[in-house]
Every structure is written in C-alpha cells, then in structure tokens.
C-alpha cells in the first residue's frame, strides 16, 4: 500500500478522533448508552447467557460481545480512562474502514490508480447515509460492522483471486475477533448475502473454467463452515434464542406481523423515496424545522446543496454506465440498483415484490426499517462506483484532469465531510446535545461509583427499585447531559428495576410499581415478592422531558413512608442527590423458597392482587393459565379480575343510530339478480384498502349493510333474502371481531379497553337494536333470528365490545348510566365482590348502605362493607363461565367546590384562568363537564395541564397534556354543554384546568393578500376586539374504578419444607430441601424462562423435573412442582449456558485446529 496514502488515512483518523474527543469525555447516548463508562460491568452483562439485571433476562446474542469487552475491560483495569479507549476504538474503526475500502477498490479496479481508490475510501467514510445511519445513529456494533465489511469482502475476493483456501480461515478468525459487529442477525444476513452475490457474479460472469467454478463453490462452503465453527459460541445462542419461548413471547407481546407490516408501510413511505435513495439521503433528517445547532442538517436540503448532490451522483453514474463493459462496474451498478430496490421497502415502484417476500419469509421481518438496515449496501456499492466514475469523468477533461479530481476530493472531504470535521455528526436536535461544544458527550457524576460500591457491600442476591420509574429512555441532568437508554445496569453492579423496558412479564410489573408504591403503605408486600431490598431515589434527570414523575414529589413520598412504621421502610444512605431506603429484613422473601399459600389468579393478574387479601410471606400468585392439576384437593385463595368493563349510557341502550358508517343505504335485497355483483364490488373495495384499520372499518360498514338488507327483506316479506343476509352477517362477524382483537394488541389508544372502543360500542349497539327488533318483526319465530342474536352476544362479548346480558330493570333499579363489569370465572366458588379503594373511591361517592346491582340475569340488593383497603358488595356463588355485574352510576361528588361559574374575558392580550385540582389522582378517570356561552368574540381554549408537561419556551408555546378549542356557534346563541372523559398520564402528580381566551382579531382577514403585515404587533393589536365567555356548572367528578375483583379468601397455608440455596453463578443454583412432605411449589425469583431447568440429585445422578412441572408464578417468576418427600438436594440450571460451554469448546477447538494447520503448513514450507 502506498505509504503516503497510509499516512493520509492515519492523519484523517487521528484528526477526526481528536475532534470527536476534544472534550475529554465519553461519547454516549441513544441505544448504546455509556458503554465505555464501566467496561468490566459491560463484560459481566455480556459474559453470561443470563443477565441478573431487571428481574433477570436472557438475550442470546449478547455473548457475541465477549471478545470486544474482554480486551477493552482489561485495558480499563490497567488504568486507561474510558474516553481514551473509546477514542482508540473510533480511531481503529475509521482507519479500518478507510484502508479496507482502499484495498477492496484496488483489488477490483486495479487500473484506476490511487486517486480512484482513495476517493472510494473517503466516500465510504463521508457520505450522507453513513452520516445519519452509521455514525449519527451511534450504535457501536453497527459502526464496527460498517468498518469491517469492506475488509472481510476484500479478504474473500483475495482468496478467490489467489485460489487459496487459507483466506477463509482469515475471514473466520477476523469475524470471531470482531464478533461484536455480528451481534444482530441483520448484519449476519447482510454479510453473507453480499458474499453470495459476489460468488454468483464470479460464477456466472467471470469464471469460465469448470475447475475455477468448483474451487469457488468449495471456497464458499468452506468459508461458511469455518465462519460458523469459529463463531459457534454466539451463533448457537442466536439460533437457540430465535426459537426460544422468551423470544416468541416477546415477539407476540410487542410485535405482530401486522404491526411489522404497518411499520414497514410507514417507514417505506417516509424513507423509501427514490430521490433520496439515489443521493443516499435519509428521508426526514435533512428537512423541516429542527433544533440542530445552526440547523446544519438543513444545509444538505438547500437548493445549491441538492444541485451539487445530483451533479455528483449523475456524473458518477453516467461515467460508470459508459464503462459498463467492465464486469465489476456492471456488478456494482447492479448491486446499487438492488440495494435501492430493497432499501425503499414496499414503496413504489414494484414495492409489492418486497411486500410479498416480507410477508412470506418471517426472517425478513427484521428488515421492517429497510433503509436503516439494508442501506449499507447502497453506501458500499456507491463508494466503489465513485472512484471509477470520478476518474472517468476527469479523463474526459484531460486539460483539467487534476483540477477535476481535486474538486471531487473537495466535494467529499469538505462538502460531505464537514459534519465530521466539526464534530456536528455527534450532536442531535435535543438540548444539550444540540450544543456543538457538548454534543453527545457524557460525564457520569462521581457519586455513582461510591453508591455502587456501597450497594455491592450491603446487598446479597436482592434487587433494588429506582424511583421515579420511566421508560427505556431518559434525559439525565449530568454535567454534560445525557439522552439515551436508562443506565442503571451500567452504573450499578447490583440488579435493579430501573426502567419499564418491553420484555415479557417484566414490563407489566415495572409499569405498575410506581402506582403501587404511591397508593399503598404496605408496598413491602410487592418488595417481598420481587426480592427487593432497597429503593433508590434518583433525582438527577429532567422529569418533564423524560415523561416521568417529579422526583421532588417522589422524595416526599419516600420520606413519608420511611417515617411510617407500617411501611417497613427506613432511610439507609445517601450519595450526592441519590438516596437509598431499606426494607426491614424480615419482610423480604428469599430468592428461592417453598410456597406456603397459593393464590389462584387469572390472566389479568397484577401485583396489586397482593393488597386484595391478607398477604403473608411465602405466598405465591398462581395464574389459572398454568396447570392446576397439583391444586386438586388443596386449599387456595382465588382472585378473579374483570376482563372488561362497559359504560352503558342509560335507558336508551341499545341505541339505534342511522348514520352511514353504521347502516349504509341499501337498494337491493340479497335475492336480487344483481346481488352477486354487489358482493363482488364490495370485495374489490376491500382489496384497494391497504391498511388493516381502513379495511376493518369497511367490513363493519358492510355488516351494517347486511342488517339493513335483512330489514328491507323483512319489509318486503322476502324470507329467503332475510335469511341470506343474516347468514352472511353471521359468517362475517367472527372475522371482524378477530381483527378487532388483533388491532387491540397493536393499535389501541392507551386509555381504551379495545381498539376504537367508543365507536365500536356505538355501531354494535345499533346492530343489537336492529337484531332485537327482528324478534318482534315478521320473521320473529325464525330460527335465524335467535341464532344471529346468540352469535352476536357471544362474539361481541368475547371481543369486549358489548355486554353479554341484557340490562334488567326494576322499580328500585331503573336503567340509568350503568357500568358493567365482565368476568370469566374458571373455578366455581362463593366469591366476594370487591373494589379496591383508591384516592377517589369511595371518598368522592355518596354510597348508600345498601346498593342494587345486576348479576347476570338477576337483580341483587346488598349491603356495602368497608374494610381495610377495600369496599365489599357481599358474596355470591359463581359457576364456571362468563358473568357480568352491573351498577347504576353511583352518586358522585364534584371535586370543584368553589369556582364553578365564572366569566373569561380578553380585551387586549390573552387571558387565562387556571383552576388547580385538589387531591388529584392520576390513576383515576374523570368526567369533566361545563356549560358555556360565547357572548361575543372568539371562543376559548380548554386545557388540562399536568406537572410533567414539557416546559414551554414562551407563553405562546405551552404544551398541555389535553387541549381543545371551543369556537362560538353561528346559529345557537345560548349556553351549550361540553363534556369529556379525562385520563391522566400516570406519572403526573398534580393537574390544573386552564381556560384561555384571546381577543377577536380580523387583521389577517383584512390583509389577506399581505398577511405578513399582521406580524407587526402594534398594527395587529389595533384590530383587537374583546372576547367574552361565560362558564357555569363546571364539574370534575371521578369515575368508578375500571377494575373489580371476585375474591375467594378461604385458602389456608400448607406446611412447606425449609429451603437453603447457594448461588454458583448467574446460571446455576444448588438447593438443599429439608423436611418435604411431598408435592410442594418451589419458587425461584428470576424472570420466567423455559431455559431454566430443575434437577433432583439422586445418588450421583441429576434427574430432571418434567417440563410440565415448570410454571409461571408471581406474574414473572419460575416455579416448579416438586413431588419428593424427605431431605434432598436440587440444582437449578439455565440450559443455554450449557450450550454456550459446548459452543466455546467447538469454537476454540476449531481455532486451535486452524492455528495448528497454519503452523504445519508454514513449517513444511520453511523446511522445504
């Protein structure tokens, strides 16, 4: 390699690293976090298949990070600061990417000279794709993959050219060293896909000789085999993980094919535009109003910049097309075309091909963001074309050849490279990272190290919970800020629940903890079950931008509980602003224990169930979805949750609304000869609706159409048509309710029970009304009517759209606004009907001593009893099946006592009236209503502001959680009524109502041709005319809680054996069981995973317990039914760890074998 070029590349790498790390701080944030802060901790996290953090976790491919973190953590232990190591890592990546692209370009286009090769290298580093999606994206493994991709391809090509199998060993060895780059399956697919394309090209376009072709095929398979064996330790984990129950549960819970399809549709529409892809540009990054420093990203979307980008790209492509007779130019033109085709996803042209493959091959679902994942191929192929294209263009102008090449260098180095030279590439649009002097630098405060050491000393296997708890991302208020994934796993060596990241079982628990802590004094019950010893208050973040609870209020709450002996909590230690609180030792259950009492719950079980009955240490929540055979003949406590709740508006239910979206116009009945054509047209209509939501809406309209057809047929006395329409209705209804179920999983709003809850309720209650009318119509005695009604009730109740039972009335129990709770009881028993107390219930309800309610098809009258933290409505026997309990609206108390009627007037400037809500409960829904009259002027805005709303920069730019504008009516000049149901953000602590009005102003209407004149405040204000609104009867009343329990608390404890255990490693525990009387439930407080296996020691043998004995308990943990008497030993082991050991053995044996082979060949060559 040319020494000058080498020095040039070294200089570029060095200067860039100096620019990036000029602040002598780590770079971090985004999904990579601050990995270089504590590399030993990162090694611990990656070093084993089971990670102790959160509630324990298995992510197979993390073990691919072992070589990377082993080397770096070793260097950090030697005293090298993290930021120096990170700078070194960046230096290596930049240098490798430059050198390897140079070598690959030289190998493929040997006649073009240094100029072309260097241009290719520079373009590979500095282009608009790498700027945003590689370096700007700041995923360390993606950066490393991007850097080593040309290196591995170059070695592979070298092997083909030299016909030497030895190169396959080098590729495999390098892949093993840089295995971190392959820690995501998409990179493996891209790498081997690219290699395969090279091989096919050689096979069909270059090699004519049969021998060469055979060599090539052998070489490919040898490379693949060796690569697999060298990387077997992590590859086997990745494959196992893809087939594991945990992965499947994750995918089912958080992703669906239809969800992926929706993501693909929207991302393809935004990022799949040909105009952007040809220029390697991100579809939205460079346009629009943003907060980047100097709005630098918009520079690349200015007309001159776009002109330059097109000029450059077109000259390169045109020159390459001119040289198409060269095989490799053709190959890279083809590759570039293919890369654009797949990177645009399913957007036109011909996007249906991608869509078809995406739906047929599940592994392609990884590419639901095709531009981000597959765009690497565009950058790779274009870089190689750039060298050829630029030099060919320069050759066209022999007199200005040098000047042309210099211009190209300037274009790449200066125009494309300026975000790199200035460090802007590592800034983003959120403060403080949009400050070019700070960017994504991270400086972790000093108090974390002593806090972590103190915890390590004082904690065993227990966990701690960090409050306030937020989502996966956080905005730390550290000296240089931090925007990225929450970092407790790196900052502390002990496991903690510090975010609500989406993992099966975990996310449901994590998202409930804050509410349970705030609403329950005896939160220690939850701590006991979760094996939590400490609570951490961490106030060092921006709670409003992180949409988390105000840490100051959380501090008050923690201190309050620490001073209350009932909470079993006390202050323990503080480090800087961090404060630790400790639970009393006697309340925490051990990590492994034998259950004393079983609490049988259902699928909707939450840890709140622990507060519904008299909780005792060693109790276990046992869902009825698990095998219940072992519970036969045993006492247990039973808890059943309502699976749905329905708000019935009043006596008019089921109401009939003749709107086009419910019952469209019908001109023909189903016996008309045109009817098949009508059905065909409907099918074509559906075909052209691509979105599932659009399609199901249309299907619902068609259901209404069928009922209207039946109604028309009834009017005409056409029984055949009547039956036919209802038959189609019955056939189509299950399809709709199934799709509604699917949409509920992916597309429902957060305060909804099901997708489009309200409109579905309205439409289907109209359907019910019409079907009920058929019961008294001409064909009342037809079997089809009763069949349709039964089918309707079953399907809509199961889909949680409409209650199953008709509403009953009596003199004492008229139908007013009713709340219906629906239950699915699995164990027949006498159940107590219970609603847990909240901040608002029952305090804001005028409850009578006795209350009437409907249970299934009977009206009951029961005495209300208040005890502890619950309100009881008495006991009733329930058989197995669906049951419904409905209450008339209970009389509520308005939480607004004094400020109910007022005027809001704005004469000059805006006027606001704020009404703080006293005793606001963020976990309760509120009915807000008032009457208003805009006497003159412009109406007003009604908002609900929360304490964790984003702070506003100025008065005009206030972000309220809820806002609606109320305009004056041009016809009705009197009081009108407004009402809404308000659901708060649960992390809020306080709320206020805000009414704001502005003066009426017609400046813009007058100056409609020159509206800019109205930017002059003085001129604009001269057009102000007063606005006046009157508000009266303002009312904010809490709603009844949406959850109700059926409680069977007769269960007694059983005698449990004593259990001692010893943690061998994160993946192995030895257990001693003493005094077992047979068949007990062993609880293991790690996240449930099918990979955990339990063994009983019998002599020297370990006998595995059957899979059927392994159950989910406490909503997250592992449990095993153990049927053995007396004293014995057990072992719990995580199966993937055994696989890892086998994987290591295979990889190391292959590496040693290859090294020995190399040594033998070398020695033989030498002594010859």
């Amino acid at each position: 390699m040319n020494k000058k070029v080498l020095l040039f590349f070294l200089a570029i790498s060095f200067v860039l690293v100096c620019v990036f790390f000029r602040g002598r701080s780590l770079l971090g944030g985004g999904e990579s976090g601050a990995a270089f802060y504590d590399l030993s901790r990162m090694l611990t996290i990656s070093g084993s298949t089971w990670v102790d953090n959160l509630l324990g976790l298995y992510i197979g491919q993390v073990v691919a990070n072992i070589p990377f973190f082993t080397v770096l953590s070793f260097l950090q232990i030697q005293g090298i600061p993290g930021y120096i190591l990170q700078a070194g890592f960046f230096f290596v990546m930049i240098f490798i990417s430059l050198v390897s692209m140079y070598l690959l370009s030289r190998e493929i286009f040997p006649k073009y000279g240094d100029g072309a090769w260097v241009l290719s290298s520079l373009f590979y580093l500095f282009n608009l794709y790498s700027l945003v999606n590689i370096w700007g994206r700041f995923l360390l493994n993606m950066m490393l993959f991007y850097s080593i991709l040309p290196l591995l391809v170059w070695i592979f090509v070298l092997g083909i050219k030299k016909k030497n199998y030895g190169y396959s060993i080098i590729i495999s060895a390098l892949s093993a060293v840089f295995s971190y780059a392959f820690s995501t399956p998409t990179h493996v697919i891209i790498f081997w896909g690219l290699i395969l394309l090279f091989v096919l090209f050689y096979l069909f376009f270059i090699f004519v000789d049969r021998k060469k072709r055979i060599f090539l095929i052998k070489y490919l398979f040898l490379s693949l085999l060796l690569w697999t064996l060298f990387n077997f330790w992590w590859l086997s984990q990745e494959i196992y993980f893809s087939f594991s129950g945990f992965f499947k549960s994750s995918v089912n819970l958080f992703f669906t094919s239809s969800g992926n399809q929706d993501a693909l549709n929207s991302l393809s529409a935004i990022l799949g535009k040909i105009a952007n892809l040809v220029l390697l540009k991100h579809g939205s990054y460079f346009i629009g109003d943003n907060q980047f420093a100097y709005k630098w990203t918009n520079f690349y979307s200015g007309p001159i910049s776009v002109f330059l980008e097109w000029l450059f790209t077109l000259t390169v492509l045109l020159m390459c097309v001119k040289r198409l007779r060269k095989n490799w130019v053709l190959f890279f033109i083809g590759l570039f075309t293919f890369a654009i085709f797949i990177s645009k996803g399913n957007s036109p042209p011909l996007g249906e091909i991608f869509n078809f493959l995406f739906n047929k091959f599940s592994f392609l679902q990884f590419f639901r963001n095709p531009f981000e994942k597959l765009g690497i191929l565009m950058s790779f192929s274009m870089s190689l074309l750039v060298g050829v294209g630029c030099i060919e263009f320069a050759n066209l102008l022999p007199k200005f050849r040098k000047l042309t090449i210099i211009v190209y260098f300037i274009y790449i180095l200066v125009f494309l490279g300026f975000p790199f030279w200035t460090g802007l590439v590592f800034t983003n649009d959120k403060p403080p990272a949009n400050d070019p002097n700070i960017g994504i630098q991270v400086q972790v405060p000093d108090y974390y190290k002593p806090a972590s050491s103190w915890l390590a000393k004082n904690m065993g296997l227990e966990r701690f919970i960090s409050f306030p708890l937020g989502g996966e991302g956080i905005f730390y208020n550290w000296p240089k800020g931090y925007i990225g994934v929450e970092q407790a796993a790196v900052l502390f060596s002990n496991p903690s629940i510090s975010n609500k990241v989406d993992f099966p079982y975990y996310s449901q628990i994590a998202s409930s903890l804050e509410k349970l802590f705030i609403t329950h004094t005896d939160f220690y019950k939850v701590a006991s079950v979760l094996n939590v010893k400490y609570l951490l208050l961490r106030p060092d973040f921006d709670f409003q931008r992180s949409t988390m609870k105000d840490p100051a209020l959380m501090n008050v709450e923690l201190d309050k509980k620490a001073n209350n002996p009932e909470s079993m909590l006390s202050f323990a230690q503080s480090f800087g602003p961090l404060k630790f609180y400790k639970f009393a030792d006697n309340v925490i259950t051990p990590f492994i224990y034998a259950a004393k009492r079983i609490v049988l719950t259902d699928n909707d079980s939450t840890l709140e169930d622990l507060f519904a009955y008299d909780f005792q240490k060693y109790d276990v929540l046992y869902p009825d979805t698990q095998p219940t055979k072992n519970l036969e003949g045993r006492d247990f406590i039973g808890i059943v949750h309502n699976q749905a709740v329905f708000q019935i508006p009043g006596p008019e239910f089921p109401l009939f609304s003749l709107t086009p979206d419910t019952f469209p116009h019908v001109s023909k009945t189903s016996t008309s000869f045109l009817y098949p054509l009508i059905l065909l047209r409907e099918k074509i209509d559906l075909m052209f609706l691509s979105g599932r939501e659009e399609r199901v809406n249309q299907q619902i309209i068609l259901l209404g159409k069928r009922l209207m057809e039946a109604k028309k047929a009834e009017e005409f006395g056409d029984l055949k048509a009547f039956n036919k329409s209802l038959t189609i209705y019955n056939d189509e209804l299950p399809k709709v309710t199934t799709t509604v179920d699917e949409l509920t999983k992916t597309a429902k709003a957060k305060d909804e029970q099901i997708w489009h809850e309200k409109s579905l309720f309205r439409i289907f209650s109209s359907h019910l009304n019409l079907i009920n009318n058929f019961k008294s119509g001409k064909f009342a005695n037809e079997e089809m009517v009763s069949r349709t009604l039964a089918n309707f009730h079953t399907r809509t109740a199961k889909a949680k759209i409409i209650p199953y039972y008709d509403l009953l009335t009596s003199k004492e129990f008229p139908v007013s606004e009713r709340l219906v709770y629906q239950f699915d009881v699995s164990e027949p028993s006498d159940y107590e009907i219970v609603i847990l107390k909240t901040d608002t219930f029952p305090y804001y309800f005028n409850l009578k001593q006795e209350v009437e309610f409907q249970v299934d098809d009977k009206v009951e009258k029961r005495r209300i009893e208040f005890s502890g933290n619950q309100v009881s409505f008495g006991s009733i026997h329930f058989e197995k099946g669906i049951h419904e309990i409905s209450f008339n609206k209970l009389p509520q108390v308005n939480t607004i006592q004094t400020f109910k009627d007022f005027n809001i007037e704005a004469v000059s400037g805006s006027r606001e009236i704020e009404i703080p809500l006293t005793k606001f409960d963020p976990y309760t829904q509120y009915d807000i209503s008032f009457d208003y009259w805009t006497r003159y002027g412009d109406g007003f805005t009604f908002s609900v502001g929360l304490d964790n709303d984003l702070p506003s920069k100025n008065k005009e730019d206030v972000h309220y959680y809820y806002t609606t504008s109320i305009f004056p009516d041009n016809y009705f000049y009197d009081f009108k009524h407004f009402s809404t149901i308000f659901t708060s953000d649960p992390s809020a602590s306080s709320a206020k109502l805000v009414f704001s009005a502005k003066p009426w102003n017609d400046c813009i209407a007058i100056y409609f041709k020159t509206p800019d004149k109205c930017k002059d405040e003085v001129l604009k204000n001269s057009f102000d005319r007063p606005t006046s609104n009157t508000i009266k009867n303002l009312s904010i009343v809490p709603r009844l809680p949406r959850s109700m329990l059926l409680l069977d608390s007769k269960g007694n404890g059983i005698e449990a054996p004593s259990v001692d255990f010893n943690k061998i490693s994160s993946t192995k525990y030895d257990i001693n069981v003493k005094g077992s009387t047979g068949n007990f439930l062993l609880a293991f407080s790690n996240l449930y995973d099918a990979g955990w296996q339990a063994f009983i020691k019998e002599g020297d043998k370990l006998v595995k317990l059957p899979e059927a004995n392994h159950v989910l308990i406490n909503d997250y943990a592992n449990g095993w039914w153990v049927d053995k008497k007396g004293d014995f030993e057990m072992t719990l082991e995580f199966f993937p760890e055994k696989m890892l050991r086998v994987g290591w053995a295979i990889s190391i044996a292959t590496i040693l074998g290859c090294a020995a082979l190399f040594a033998i060949l070398y020695l033989r060559k030498r002594f010859r």
Binding site: V208, A275, L314, L350, I684, D685, F688, L689
Partner: protein, 120 residues
C-alpha cells in the same frame, strides 16, 4: 416503409392502446369502487405497466440496452431538477418511472453479458 419505421410505428400503436386499456381499466375500477381513488390505482399500477412494456420492448424487440439508458438519464436529470426546486411529488414520480426503466436496463445488461459469455 423502412423496417425500422414500421417497428417504431408498431410500437407506438402498442403503447397507445396499452395506455388506453390501462386508463379504461383504472376508470372502471374507480367507477365501481367509490373508495379507491384514481390516483391510488394509478400509483400502484403505472410502474408495473411501465415495467412490462419496457421489458417487452427491451427483450421482445431486441432494443439495445444503451438506448434504454439514454431514455433514463434525461428522466433522472429532470427528476433531479424538480427535486432541487422542492417539487418533490413530481420529482418522485419521474424518478420512479426512471428507476423502473433502470431495473429493466440492468436486467437486460446482465442477460446480454451472460449470453456474450456463453457465445465466447
């Protein structure tokens, strides 16, 4: 009439009727289905029509790939010019047509190269 003129005349008629049939089909679909808009159908189908017509032209009539390329670059240039002036919708439409032609061109080039290699 020269052979070449005949071919061009024939092609023009094929393309004309192709477009007529296509537009008739689109109008019919639009008429019978008031939910599917004209633009939507046009958006989905036009590229397929362009693809198949170009494919037939390129392979059926043995038109040289260089000629297809020559028709693509002015289109890309036009698309680029509209992009510079922020006329994104029209730019994208033109570039999508150009990319469809480009795909045919690349397929044709690869097929020519394979044939050449077989001949050699």
């Amino acid at each position: 009439m020269k052979e070449r003129t005949k071919k061009i005349f024939g092609l023009t008629i094929v393309v004309f009727f192709g477009v007529c049939i296509y537009l008739g089909f689109v109008s019919l679909l639009t008429y019978i289905s008031y939910f599917a808009t004209f633009n939507r159908i046009l958006n989905e189908f036009i590229y397929w029509i362009v693809f198949f017509v170009t494919f037939i032209l390129a392979f059926g009539f043995k038109i040289q790939s260089k000629k297809i390329v020559l028709s693509i670059f002015p289109l890309i240039l036009l698309g680029g010019i509209f992009d510079i002036f922020y006329l994104w919708q029209i730019s994208e439409f033109i570039l999508r047509i150009a990319f469809t032609l480009w795909i045919v061109f690349v397929i044709k080039l690869f097929s020519e190269r394979i044939r050449k290699k077989e001949v050699n």
